[in-house]
């Protein structure tokens, strides 16, 4: 029983990381209508920044995280402006998708050249004591607590941001209809830039949390969690913020349970199997809405 609960807790913890990544994915997908394949690799870059700042330069962890958020935010804006924006009105919808794959590859390989292929052991930057329950048989680490609370706060913050601020409302308008939003005087380019900035900033936070829980860092660290977070976003209904959070948590639990009770090698296959099942049964995800093309 206690092992079931600890699996559940580590599932929720991993799921919260997926949720934070998925929140970035779902925002970008919902508003810019593109699948930003490089999102996972921004996480990786953010983690390296923290690693170098803390282990290499001896910076205070809080400052290091802030630095990482700033760099990732800027990177998101630059990537969107240079690689994605020129293709926004391309004749083929595949153009921007293939470019995004190129950017993902570029980030991985630049990281490989700078930091090498060897695994860096990421020192936990979150030094909170663990919580012991049930007489010590269940241990919840500080990282887990921070991750879960962080995920919930970010989700709530994003929902407030979108419903209460002018920029948030502009994002909603752009997601409905770019042309109409432009006519209403909304700066579409700026709005999409901000979306990427927020998404990438979240990626930096997700990177820190991911590497604090799983402290091995390579240039490929971000790729798989990125893809799984996309699965989570699809699961929850792409474009939906609470959906991304729920999808992330469910997927995290599923992965840990799959590893524990079925087969550690098959855990990824189970996660991806879920994606295929969701797409067959309810393609719009649990909280997604149907979009029909205009004729």
């Amino acid at each position: 029983m206690s092992s079931f609960i600890s699996y559940l807790i580590s599932g929720i913890s991993l799921g919260s990381v997926y949720a934070i990544i998925a929140l970035g994915y779902t925002m970008v997908y919902g508003i810019a209508k593109m699948l930003n394949f490089a999102h996972g690799d921004v996480i990786m870059v953010g983690s390296y920044v923290v690693y170098v700042a803390v282990s290499g330069m001896g910076l205070n962890p809080i400052l290091a995280i802030l630095l990482s958020i700033i760099i990732c935010t800027l990177m998101g804006v630059v990537i969107e402006g240079v690689a994605y924006r020129p293709l926004r009105n391309a004749a083929s919808p595949l153009a921007v998708l293939i470019t995004a794959i190129g950017v993902s590859y570029l980030l991985q390989n630049v990281a490989l050249l700078i930091w090498g292929a060897d695994t860096k052991s990421f020192s936990n930057v979150i030094s909170l004591p663990s919580l012991k329950l049930a007489g010590g048989s269940i241990v919840i680490t500080g990282v887990t607590i921070v991750t879960i609370i962080g995920g919930i706060l970010i989700m709530a913050g994003l929902m407030l941001f979108i419903s209460k601020t002018k920029t948030g409302q502009a994002m909603l308008a752009v997601s409905e209809d770019k042309g109409a939003a432009q006519l209403m005087g909304i700066n579409v380019n700026k709005t999409i830039s901000i979306t990427f900035a927020i998404g990438s900033g979240l990626a930096a936070i997700a990177g820190v949390l991911l590497c604090s829980a799983y402290p091995s860092l390579t240039p490929y660290t971000g790729a798989m969690p990125g893809i799984k977070a996309f699965v989570a976003a699809v699961f929850g209904g792409i474009g939906s913020i609470p959906g991304a959070f729920i999808g992330g948590v469910v997927l995290g639990i599923l992965e840990i349970f799959g590893k524990a009770y079925i087969s550690s090698q098959m855990a990824d296959a189970i996660v991806f199997g879920v994606l295929i099942v969701v797409l067959v049964v309810k393609p719009t995800g649990i909280l997604g809405k149907n979009i029909q093309e205009k004729v």
Partner: protein, 351 residues
């Protein structure tokens, strides 16, 4: 008028076939004249595999207009099913040529069936889902094969996802697939000549399909789904056809690949996401929808790092830049506009 048009496509197709044949003859000449190192000769069959995969992926990306990131997965299906068949029948099916042919059919059909099955849920949906699901599929296939144990004895075929012991085989039974150890001891039957023949077969299928009723339906869906429906074209049916054929061709590439190795394993390095991306790079560099371009791009991108050894560290980085730059140059509306302006300037100068 019609005559001329027919001739134009036929001529272009003949050039493509001729190019492959000419390259084949040149390479054969170089081998005969001892001009190719053993190392380079060893790269010939893999190169054929890559060309077949590039052609197959270009059918999905360029003609069907969907992105598959799991073509390495279909290749993997073709490789393992055909190699398992060869391994199982090695001792009883002694006509090696015919056995290879049957293995080829098995690999292609199995990969095609998987393409069909994956296509059913996904091709109904629009946009980026096919990309992500095919990616997922590629990963699932690798995962499953890595824990799959298959053996054969007088009672038939045994499967297990745990270990060799749980197969419960009779003594004297033969292991076909041993989990992460893969398939060992298949005869290495793939040759450069077979590779080139299979490239020609793939080209034949793809080019004929493009210039046919089915091909037109598929391209009509790519260009405008709603208009295609309005003239009575069944969207899902033709998408599935195209995708299953593309997967089957990837399976052929897998058969060629598997029979070039003494040990076949489902490692990421053989069948992972990176391989799928590499095929995509060939397609993008050669021009989306341009079959001849895919062949040329696959050849150049494989030979270049071998010729310029120092470059091989930057190979992946180069691929990434190819993807980004080619897409921006070829598809950004501003870039197209600029090119057209330059082009019309040239035309004026000539006049």
């Amino acid at each position: 008028m019609e005559k001329k048009k027919l001739n134009k496509t036929t001529k272009s197709n003949l050039i493509t076939y001729g190019m492959v044949l000419a390259a084949y003859l040149i390479v054969q000449g170089m081998i005969a004249g001892n001009l190719l190192s053993n190392l380079m000769q060893g790269l010939l069959v893999p190169l054929c595999v890559y060309i077949i995969l590039a052609l197959s992926l270009n059918l999905t990306v360029g003609i069907l207009g969907e992105l598959s990131l799991g073509h390495a997965g279909f290749m993997c299906i073709g490789a393992f099913t055909s190699a398992a068949f060869t391994k199982a029948t090695m001792d009883t099916f002694t006509n090696a040529g015919l056995r290879f042919f049957v293995a080829l059919i098995i690999g292609a059909v199995c990969a095609g069936i998987f393409g069909f099955l994956i296509g059913i849920p996904v091709l109904r949906l629009k946009g980026d889902y096919l990309a992500i699901v095919t990616l997922a599929f590629g990963e699932i296939i690798k995962n499953i094969i890595n824990v799959l144990y298959v053996g054969i004895d007088s009672n038939g075929i045994h499967f297990s996802m745990k270990d060799q012991m749980s197969l419960g085989m009779e003594p004297g039974g033969k292991m076909l697939i041993s989990g992460a150890m893969g398939i060992t001891g298949t005869p290495r039957q793939s040759t450069f000549t077979i590779g080139v023949v299979l490239i020609l077969v793939t080209l034949f299928v793809v080019l004929n399909l493009i210039n046919s009723r089915d091909g037109r339906a598929i391209m009509a869906i790519r260009d405008n789904r709603i208009a295609a429906e309005s003239i009575g074209i069944d969207i899902t049916k033709y998408k599935l056809k195209a995708f299953a054929i593309s997967a089957a061709l990837a399976g052929i590439g897998g058969v060629l690949y598997a029979h070039n190795l003494a040990t076949l394993t489902a490692l990421p390095k053989n069948f992972g996401y990176n391989m799928s991306i590499m095929f995509l790079v060939f397609v993008v560099l050669g021009g989306i929808g341009n079959m001849r371009g895919s062949i040329i791009a696959a050849v150049i991108l494989n030979l270049l790092p071998e010729l310029l050894r120092g470059l091989s560290d930057y190979r992946m980085l180069f691929y990434a830049i190819v993807l980004i730059v080619m897409m921006l140059i070829n598809w950004a509306p501003k870039a197209i506009e600029m090119r057209e302006r330059l082009f019309s300037k040239f035309k004026k100068k000539e006049a």
